[in-house]
Symmetry: C2
């Protein structure tokens, strides 16, 4: 569970040695503590000619207490920025991409460690011409390259903002900009996030963005699930922590620590969905947020895999999510403004040796998000998934050393993520303020090299 | 340009040593030679209950001279298969995914070297229910994992076949099944190919699938472009080979060798599109296939990049493609049944350090395919892109040894691809028989680990 190499590198003596030998140099990532300012320094905001989001972005960031700078004033400026934000929605042709160079080139080396790069664009499918759609799609090549190039814990994202929701744009943008600028998104980089036209509700206090929400977390006894319960409770949620009966003691400990409740239930039992629905109805009358985190691995190559390994993995990781969604939705237990967040995996995106069962189940989770999002949108419920990469848990601690080291270092952060990084990302997607964010699959992988 | 390690491994003495030391073991890939049978052994065809493609697939493969086997007869069969083809279109729920296990598990180790795995599915967006869409999307996790697991040059693909085009399914399927089973697709693995409802025309002779077609290849003087000219001419095309005047000698050599014509033109010149259009109109009256292969790299990190490097790369790799398409289409020089194939790159998908300009241009090419496909479909013209991974060329020969070795080995084939592999893939997309294949971005990367 500990990355001893990173601890060594981050010590004074280790740092000097590693630099001299040219070894990987995992930076200490900025993470979120309640009460932190959103960013630890000024943010430079640039705008392509004819862009449409500068005004709402300025409002959101100013309101959040961010010190904003202007590129014109900044040209000969030795200031170190905590973020570079660029509104590229005005770029309607590939020749206009030059404006990206003009903004980023002079400031490429001005970012503080764990700095943030955010480019805002228009979803290509909404563009008025193929030329505009092409240019807007090109932005992805830029942000993904910046994520790989800037180093020192800097993250880079592309955020596509719908043209449809202009009325609600300010509120719609706010939760995502806050998440991506903050230390909550420490291990999220190289991602494309889509903000649509859904309804978002800003919290009274941005340090308690889940205040009063009833949140179900499956697989909550340990690892990512335990971190989830802790983070969501810290952010104001009333957490219902669920796990299998055999993990009852660990589960009770988690629930007690956060002042939540514990439910022992095997989700693959035929009556599990109805029993869960009855419990939620009786105790809370509803569930605002469902986090499908429970998951198992049963690795074997396909030729050596017995059928139970296939069946169990598909059932726990995919089919049981479908059955629970169906029952909770049928019984109207998830109100308008509700959220469902599923846990997928990089293996579901890229496939993995020895994990045909797991990768199939996790690719299915992506299919679930794609196909159920339009249905849920009509009910005012958002649905998203996160896809963790290499996260330091009990499971990854068991991977043989050399493989583990490769997994840890082969990403833009040169280190594994922590369970809290996955939890913070799920938290953002669960906020009432994130209603405009639906249908996304967001990787929490430090921009792992692995992909499809 | 030579992979000495692979040559060594593929020699008798090298093979033994490599096995003993547990080093990477790049297999010798089966590649296409005209006159070859489609596959060097029998193919096992399995079907999920209620599937809809078994009949057309059986017809296509039987007509192509493939010896087909049935899984029921095959259970205790020591036969080695050259291909495993599975029609999964009948799977309508995640619990039905078990049928994949039942088919692949007993035969996972029965494939010959460079064997083929093809799973056929329904595009999730066309599925009748979220449950069906989820299960069909899950197929991608299986095929990508099989590609990483089976080794020995085995490729694995998922082919989504529209429900719309059932009338024309037989012809629509044929070109893609032939390509994927043959040695032409040696370095294509882990891909998702979509077959739509376009019009496909089978050739008189499948060994000359481009007979009589006028094909423009840009950047044809060397590397992938020269291989392209050669492969497309071998397949029957009348090739117009284009490159910059400074590459005139090499270009003339390529054109002479294949009996094509040479055009010296700088595509970034303001009058280039009209001059090219006039040349094609005067000499051929049309151009059936346009292959946008010309591309340059000018690598630097963004902070150290001068503006010319940005501008040149965007202009050559992206804007000039847009200008040429516009003029050729305006003047109606690409007839119905025409094809456009653009060359993107893995860097355009995943981003790359030191290549913000290149990755932006190549991501733009993907945007061009996405946005222009619907427009061209109405005119009966298909548009696709290929995204090469590590291909052995003059350019990659200059990469420092350790990086080059990493690039070569980090894929399911444990070796770099050859220019001919990219050329064969573009060839398939250019065939008159491939009219149902449009809007795809197909990686030619040996299933590189790198992705997004």
């Amino acid at each position: 569970m500990t990355d001893r190499y990173a601890s060594f590198v981050q010590s004074g003596a280790g740092r000097a040695l590693v630099k001299r030998l040219g070894l990987p140099d995992p930076p200490r990532l900025r993470r979120h503590t309640p009460g932190d300012p959103l960013v630890p320094g000024p943010v430079l905001l640039g705008t392509a000619a004819g862009s449409r989001l500068a005004e709402p972005v300025t409002k959101v960031l100013t309101f959040a207490g961010v010190e904003l700078r202007d590129p014109v004033a900044a040209t000969d400026d030795p200031v170190r920025y905590a973020g570079l934000v660029y509104d590229a929605t005005g770029i309607t042709d590939s020749t206009g991409l030059r404006q990206l160079y003009d903004f980023f080139h002079p400031h490429a080396r001005s970012l503080t460690p764990s700095g943030r790069v955010i480019v805002l664009g228009t979803p290509p499918a909404e563009c008025g011409s193929p030329r505009e759609a092409t240019a807007q799609r090109a932005l992805e090549g830029l942000t993904r390259s910046i994520g790989k190039e800037f180093g020192r814990g800097v993250t880079a994202q592309l955020v596509y903002v719908t043209k449809d929701g202009d009325a609600g744009t300010l509120t719609s943008l706010e939760s995502t900009l806050r998440f991506l600028l903050s230390g909550r998104s420490a291990y999220v980089s190289g991602q494309v996030v889509r903000i649509g036209a859904g309804t978002a509700t800003a919290p009274a206090d941005w340090d308690r963005p889940l205040d009063g929400q009833v949140v179900l977390v499956t697989g909550a006894a340990r690892g990512i699930g335990a971190a989830l319960a802790t983070v969501l409770a810290r952010d104001g949620a009333q957490v219902v922590a669920l796990d299998v009966p055999s993990a009852g003691d660990a589960l009770a400990e988690v629930a007690n620590e956060i002042g939540g409740s514990a439910v022992q239930l095997d989700l693959t039992a035929p009556d599990a969905p109805t029993r869960l629905a009855e419990h939620l109805a009786a105790r809370h009358g509803r569930v605002d947020v469902v986090v499908h985190n429970a998951g198992i691995t049963r690795d074997k190559t396909l030729g050596r895999m017995d059928p139970d390994r296939w069946d169990q993995v598909i059932d726990v990781n995919l089919s049981s999510q479908e059955r629970i969604n169906d029952v909770l939705l049928e019984r109207d237990l998830i109100p308008a403004g509700g959220r469902i967040v599923s846990v997928s995996s990089i293996a579901g995106i890229a496939g993995n040796r020895g994990q045909t069962n797991y990768a199939t189940s996790k690719a299915g989770v992506i299919g679930l998000v794609d196909s159920l999002t339009p249905v849920l949108r009509e009910r005012g419920i958002s649905l998203n998934a996160v896809a963790p990469g290499f996260i330091e848990t009990r499971l990854t601690a068991r991977i043989p050393l050399m493989l583990r080291e490769a997994g840890r270092r082969m990403n833009s952060m040169a280190q594994g993520g922590l369970p809290v990084d996955v939890a913070e990302t799920i938290g953002w997607l669960a906020w009432p303020a994130s209603g405009a964010v639906t249908g996304n699959v967001v990787r929490v992988c430090g921009q792992s090299l692995l992909g499809a």
